[in-house]
């Protein structure tokens, strides 16, 4: 039996990818699917980013200039949905596809055909969502949190397409997560115990469990909306005895784990990069794992901190405040571990390291504002203002998205066999770093001063900083064209990369040649 398998593997080794479009349509190869996910995510990042540019252009000055309030609401809704479900999540799934099998020494993902399916339904989901822009009544206009009854009784007809699209995205995420879990649990190389797994693998194992736990909850929420809209039920309709607050409980029971789904893989990435460029073993590996697990568990009992103003009883407000504050403990442990890894290291500052350090600093700033938001009485003033917008953009843009960019610079030599242009990479970093801070830092102030979120026009005392914020956003947006250029340039050619690529790199993926062969680890490596 084993002889048969070995000879089969041997054959595979010589046979590369198919040619043409069918290579991508029919592929079951984790590297191809990873690439598809990453390009798809980048396309969505540009589309969602273009919508952010429309929003910031309208907010450049007080008064309505560029779009109508109705269209403005469609832009802010689609911007949120596309960035969360189309840009950040697929990028992490793409990275998981590329890296998890190579990091655990597996030949591929455990369920390769399902892997193909989970990717290829995504473009349809977003085609359906984006096509709603051209429907009568326009695209969804109720915010990415789609609170009922604005998203049911009062929604444009396209809401049905939105519900369908969310279902497809959910199915894709669940299939992707099953694949990750099965791969990690069953296909690790001999000797790789759970507590020897690279942290990116750990972060994805936890993320995948979170996804499987909460995506069905989201599916339930949108299905109840569908019933309310088309089949005469009243889940969320007060006039029929329903409960609009129930919607928010269900949504945030999904939504809060969802925000950790978008940050845990970033923790994994930052750990690898900081370790590599500090040339020093990561400090506190075990506590990193426990911290991620604690954050994941706590994420299920903090959802109502998004709902402090809906009129919860005092006991609930106190519980959710305390539980939310507790998250600062494991998050703090992670930050202290990263800093201590750098302490007495031997550090160099290549582009991935710059992004990773910016990630730690700016994510921590987002963490501080998160702690402030947890304080319920103060949240009565912060809630639904630009302070919240600043907070979650700090954890999502220089948080999740910087980590994704760091990951691309860090592993692209392994993917393409070519080094990226270091000078251009650093330029991209500095432009993005300045852009992101100029955009989002002033939003803390205008939020504290009283500017609500999701408004197309504002009172005059907010004018100055909105203009500056918009300038920052245009800079950040334009810088991403440079990122596209750098990536394409690296794919086309460049200095050849060695197998280990970086002086301080650790892990199985650096033991195979660069670019990684189409099939890796057909014979499992031995891990000590």
């Amino acid at each position: 039996m084993s002889a048969v398998i070995e000879s089969h593997n041997h054959d595979d080794h010589h046979h590369g990818p198919a040619k043409g479009l069918t290579r991508w349509l029919y592929t079951t190869n984790h590297k191809d699917i990873g690439t598809l996910y990453l390009w798809f995510s980048f396309a969505m990042f540009l589309i969602g980013g273009a919508m952010a540019m429309v929003i910031r252009a309208e907010l450049f000055q007080p008064g309505m200039q560029i779009v109508e309030p109705e269209f403005y609401n469609q832009m802010l809704t689609l911007h949120g949905l596309i960035m969360v479900f189309g840009a950040v999540m697929p990028a992490f799934v793409g990275l998981a596809n590329w890296l998890v099998p190579m990091m655990v020494g597996a030949p591929d993902m455990a369920l390769p055909r399902m892997n193909n399916l989970s990717f290829w339904i995504l473009p349809f989901a977003f085609f359906v969502l984006l096509s709603s822009l051209f429907m009568e009544g326009g695209a969804p206009n109720f915010g990415w949190t789609f609170y009922a009854p604005l998203s049911t009784t009062y929604a444009p007809p396209s809401v049905t397409f939105f519900i369908f699209s969310v279902h497809i995205m959910g199915a894709s995420s669940i299939m992707g997560s099953i694949n990750v879990i099965v791969t990690i649990m069953n296909m690790r190389a001999p000797g790789m115990t759970l507590m020897k797994m690279p942290l990116f693998v750990w972060s994805w194992l936890i993320t995948a469990y979170l996804l499987i736990a909460v995506m069905p909850v989201l599916a339930g929420a949108v299905t109840m909306m569908l019933m309310d809209i088309h089949f005469g039920t009243s889940f969320f309709n007060a006039a029929g005895g329903g409960d609009p607050v129930l919607f928010q409980h269900i949504f945030w029971f999904f939504g809060h784990p969802e925000v950790y789904i978008m940050i845990l893989p970033a923790f994994g990435i930052a750990s690898h990069i900081i370790e590599t460029f500090s040339r020093k073993q990561l400090f506190g590996y075990a506590s990193m794992v426990w911290a991620m697990a604690s954050i994941a568990i706590l994420s299920f009992v903090v959802w109502a901190h998004h709902m402090f103003t809906v009129g919860l009883p005092l006991a609930a407000e106190l519980f959710f405040m305390w539980a939310t504050m507790l998250i600062a403990v494991p998050t703090g442990v992670k930050v202290f571990n990263w800093v201590t890894t750098m302490f007495k290291g031997s550090i160099t500052y290549e582009t991935p390291m710059l992004f990773a350090i910016a990630f730690v600093v700016l994510f921590t700033i987002g963490g501080f504002s998160g702690l402030m938001l947890a304080i319920t009485p103060a949240d009565f003033q912060y809630h639904d203002t630009y302070f919240v917008v600043a907070h979650f953009h700090y954890v999502l843009v220089p948080g999740s998205i910087f980590s994704i960019m760091a990951a691309v610079y860090y592993w692209i030599p392994k993917w393409t066999g070519n080094m990226y242009d270091e000078r251009l990479g650093k330029l991209h970093f500095w432009l993005s770093f300045i852009g992101v801070n100029v955009t989002f830092f002033p939003q803390h102030w205008i939020g504290l001063a009283g500017m609500p979120r999701r408004i197309p026009d504002y009172a005059l005392q907010f004018a100055d900083w909105n203009m500056i914020s918009s300038v920052g956003a245009f800079l950040f947006g334009a810088s991403q064209i440079l990122f596209l250029f750098i990536v394409v340039k690296t794919v086309m050619g460049g200095k050849k990369a060695t197998p280990e690529v970086w002086e301080g790199s650790r892990g199985l993926e650096w033991t195979v040649e660069s670019p990684a062969p189409y099939h890796t680890f057909t014979t499992p490596p031995k891990v000590n």
């Binding site: 506190g284 550090i347 501080f368």
Partner: protein, 383 residues
């Protein structure tokens, strides 16, 4: 603070960032931080905010200090041979326990303030606040006063056709009036979608949710005009439904209550009067521009797919009874709400008459008008 001229000149400045950095155009410190507000609770909330902020700054200085020190001191050039330590139970235990203690230190004052805010005993004056797309209704439960509060900023200002005034988007036709020193309780709910009633100076933000009544209370000691906003996305004109509260002395408040009661009496007289088509149409246009124009538009044509066209609509042209019914009852499952409690009989009759006369509808349809007595008749219980 800004003067009117500075403010309106300010946002015309497209020409370069240099101007933004000159000192007098920039927002004052007050415009960069949370307001201290004017109530005991709002001051407590502000102190809590500053306490947590400074704790975060202190932690940030220590953590980032060590980080930046490491970044400069332990470069490959200065420290070619990295250390090899990678765990230390004592240190790791310390930085788990110490943050926990800091959190407990924060949680105590926060929990105390929250408990004070949650005192929901009866107020001296109870005001029901109802959110509508896109205006607020205030009902004084003891005195029976009931009115709507609409944005008064002109659409020409919003569309940059005329200069913006000092209280751009923060001004209403009728503010909530409350006396100083009394405990005011707000009972907050909504008629259509979820809104949120925010008055920063009182540190009150409560969601207005259909089917629920949330409470909030305040005692204000400083007379003045305070401005806030709706803070929950509630559709197209979410940005255009401000909250304005006018705090006055007890004498001024009593006089205001008397005025409102007299006005209600005069309105009853108007209902009895015989109205001409021209009078109704003229009054109706004003009502239309205040209540209907956001959806059905100035030309009556609505927005395709969401808000129906009134110009040439069969109901508006030829079906007076149905026309009245829609305005009185709203349309189930659509954005059209019932205006029965929002408009007086006179305003209801005149706005229906206006839509039946305007945009060529009188010529194309039966041209029948609706008089206030029709509405009174409609409201009578049917046997």
């Amino acid at each position: 603070m800004f003067k009117k001229a500075t403010r309106s000149a300010n946002h015309k400045l497209l020409a370069g960032l240099t101007i933004l950095f000159s000192s007098n155009t920039f927002a004052a410190w007050n415009d960069l931080n949370m307001t201290e507000g004017v109530t005991a609770i709002s001051k407590e909330v502000f102190d809590l905010h500053m306490l947590i902020f400074w704790i975060c700054v202190a932690i940030g200085l220590v953590v980032f200090g060590i980080m930046f020190y490491s970044m400069f001191a332990f470069t490959k050039k200065k420290n070619p041979n990295p250390a090899t330590f990678h765990e230390n139970t004592k240190v790791e235990l310390a930085w788990t326990v110490v943050p926990f203690l800091i959190l407990v230190f924060m949680a105590i004052p926060a929990s105390n303030t929250l408990t004070k805010i949650y005192d929901d005993t009866e107020g001296d004056i109870n005001i029901q606040v109802v959110g509508y797309q896109w205006k607020w209704q205030y009902k004084y439960l003891e005195d029976g006063i009931d009115f709507f509060s609409n944005l008064t900023t002109d659409w020409d200002e919003i569309y940059n056709k005329t200069p913006k005034g000092e209280f751009y988007l923060e001004e209403v036709d009728e503010a909530v009036v409350i006396p100083v020193g009394k405990k005011i309780r707000f009972l907050i709910t909504a008629n259509d979608v979820i809104h949120s009633w925010w008055m920063p100076d009182f540190a009150i933000k409560q969601d207005a949710i259909p089917g629920f009544i949330n409470t909030a209370w305040t005692i204000v000691d400083e007379p003045g005009i305070y401005r806030g906003k709706c803070t929950e996305l509630c559709g197209k004109n979410h940005g255009f439904m401000p909250v304005v509260v006018k705090v006055v002395t007890q004498d001024e408040y009593d006089a205001w209550v008397q005025d409102k009661k007299d006005a209600a009496f005069r309105m009853a007289e108007l209902t009895e009067k015989d109205w001409s088509t021209a009078e109704l149409t003229e009054r109706g246009e004003g009502v239309y521009l205040k209540n209907c124009v956001a959806c059905h538009q100035v030309n009556g044509q609505g927005i395709a797919g969401i808000f129906p066209n009134l110009a040439g609509s069969d109901i508006v042209l030829n079906n007076k009874a149905k026309n009245i019914e829609i305005l009185m009852e709203g349309v189930q499952g659509a954005a059209m709400q019932s205006f029965a409690n929002q408009l007086s009989e006179v305003d209801m009759a005149s706005v229906i008459t206006y839509t039946r006369q305007a945009w060529g509808n009188a010529e194309n349809g039966d041209g029948e008008i609706v008089v206030p007595k029709d509405i009174v008749e409609y409201k009578k219980p049917k046997v």
